[in-house]
Amino acid sequence: MTLAHERTAQFLEGVRRERRQIITPEGVPVTVDLADYGERLIAFMLDLVIWLVLTLAIYIPIIAAIAASGGSLIAISIALFIGFVVRNMYFVYFELAWRGATPGKRLVGLRVIDRAGGPLLPSAIVARNLTREVETFIPLGVLLTWGKAATGDWESLAIALWLLFFAALPFINRDRMRGGDLIAGTMVISLPKRVLSSDLVENTAQYTFTELQLRAYGAFELQVLEELLRHPDTPETMRVLNEVCDKICRKIGWATPVPPAEVVPFLREFYTAERGFLEREQLYGKVRADKFSPPTKAG
């Protein structure tokens, strides 16, 4: 994505998304949006809830069965072990079967991909999820169950530091990788679905714009205008469109006033002419990012 598009995105969406490029094996760079911390946290929480429900569904009959026979400690051990297995199998299974997305990630719209753009190998998925165990769950379990009983203060402190370090890791590297991602060579991206709307280009030209008039704007203004024209038809949109129309007329010195009913057709034709002009210029290597960039004179 070029600089102009980046600026349009920031202007229109209000937030600045971290973007990276991966190169597909075919050699084409594709832009990916890094997942936000919030999105990842929500996805993880969802997965945790699903895991808990799943494990409890398996636990309760087992605990009931064993408690009836008297061996409650065995029950706890078996329950812990099943929790361990279900937790790991859950993440590994879904990330393999659903192409890098657990149910939580899928609901939020996240995917795990190979950082270099290669195929996501099963070993990477296994590595990134088994590391989660070493990274968080085992130390957390030790801290919660045995922290007071079996380990000393220094060990508890070491565990706490360990947990803190891995919790902080996604915040201190630029690709927001947690330990498992770092090791497996993966990253988590957000994957929004985009819809292809109809082309705004008008083929019948009622108005004619001169080259000098079209030179008034750049790609940024063009894309903002495009976004405006694609907005649903509400009184509010109409008001903004009228304002924009006035501004454009003043800027390009359009003398004849545009009647209110003609505002949308006029703007669409201006959009078409402007886009045609800018695209032609771009093809000749004269890219104009916005109205402030120096005018490139032909010839």
Partner: protein, 374 residues
């Protein structure tokens, strides 16, 4: 540009006779010609995302890579000729989604686990054999030091062995004490041994292991120190039993789980040393890059070590006191040790060469089709 400029420009145009021009945009024509293909690809990818590759028929599978490559080329062209934001965003998203559909993981959980335990884990351990040797040497140095010092003066025992580990044993213990309460203590029953004891041991050892591993980040110095330090109580306990003529019984008591447990601790330390090496000697990469490149090996070793500790905890907590004879304990311990050696040393030796490549081959666009035909 000024308004007068524009006015002049406009009047010049009008003077020349402004003819109504039919506007033809290259990007618009480009879109008209290709939109059908994009829509078809979008439909196929949507179905793969929802229901997996199985949702597609053979014909559709054949179309998928073709449409995918066409979409990629459309994206490249659109980036140079089009300024339609909606179109560009759509193509970016479509290219990425179809890339993920075509190059997604092509194995189920079982195959993934088999690949991991079948050749990647043993291969990672084999690749770190020098680190393992160094870690083992550190442990031996610690053990010998602990043994020598405690042989001279049993007072060292109390400073080497933390009270939690000593379990009431010490210079004051007599031969009979050690035999009845420790080496041939009665089996406490399934619940106590498998349930509580094994869990405590697993947690405790894992923590020590993780510390040894993680502190490899600090250039490996703490890793080496911890390895030596772990040998000290071992040597001290050996000396204590040696002085009471219980060497063989103690070794048997220790071997049944110790081979696995110490093996795991050595693996943790070796993983820490791998990290330390990658940080200390980054070669032509930056330190973080080098760590990311080789970190996978270290993590795989750590996962293997956790696995070993798990087995060790079951052996120690459950079976040690169940088997009440020294020869049998030695046999079980050494047998398990031989199994670990065979696993890490031999498993996946041939597969490791072809394994990753085979997986890569299997992940290409045409692999989808071949997989379905099989």
């Amino acid at each position: 540009m000024t308004v007068t400029d524009i006015a002049a420009d406009r009047s010049a145009l009008e003077a020349g006779g402004a003819a109504k021009t039919e506007l033809v945009l290259k990007s618009s024509e480009f879109r008209k010609g290709r939109e059908a293909g994009w829509r078809e690809l979008e439909g196929l990818v949507g179905r793969v995302e929802r229901r997996g590759v199985r949702a597609l028929s053979l014909d559709e599978l054949q179309r998928l890579p073709i449409l995918y490559r066409a979409a990629l080329s459309s994206l490249s062209v659109a980036r140079t000729i089009a300024l339609d934001r909606n179109l560009l965003l759509y193509l970016e998203s479509l290219a990425l989604r179809s890339f993920l559909a075509v190059y997604g993981p092509r194995a189920n959980a079982f195959q993934g686990l088999r690949a991991f335990f079948g050749h990647e884990l043993p291969a990672a351990v084999r690749s770190a054999r020098w680190h393992i040797l160094i870690a083992a040497l550190c442990l031996v140095v610690g053990t010998v030091a602990g043994f020598m010092l405690t042989m001279q003066d049993e007072a060292w025992y109390t400073s080497f062995v933390p009270s939690g580990l000593a379990g009431g044993r010490g210079p004051a213990s007599t031969r009979a004490d050690l035999l009845d309460k420790e080496i041939f203590a009665p089996w406490p029953g399934a619940a106590e041994s498998f349930g509580l004891f094994a869990n405590v041991l697993f947690s405790h050892n894992t923590m020590i292991g993780i510390m040894t591993f993680g502190l490899g980040m600090a250039a490996g110095v703490p890793t080496v120190m911890l390895s030596v330090y772990q040998g000290l109580p071992l040597g001290a306990m050996l000396a204590l039993h040696h002085n009471r003529d219980l060497t063989l019984d103690f070794v048997g008591w220790l071997t049944i789980h110790g081979v696995t447990e110490l093996g795991a601790l050595i693996l943790f330390a070796a993983g820490g040393l791998v990290i330390a090496e990658k940080i200390l000697f980054p070669g032509r990469y930056s330190r973080i890059e080098n760590l990311a490149l080789h970190g996978r090996v270290a993590a795989q070793i750590a996962v293997g070590a956790v696995l070993m500790l798990f087995v060790a905890a079951i052996l120690e907590g459950g079976f040690r006191q169940l088997i009440q004879s020294t020869p049998w304990r030695l046999a079980v311990g050494l047998g398990v040790g031989a199994l670990w050696l065979a696993y890490f040393g031999l498993v996946g030796r041939n597969a490791s060469k072809t394994g990753v490549n085979a997986l890569l081959d299997k992940a290409g666009p045409n692999a989808l089709l071949e997989e379905r035909r099989r």
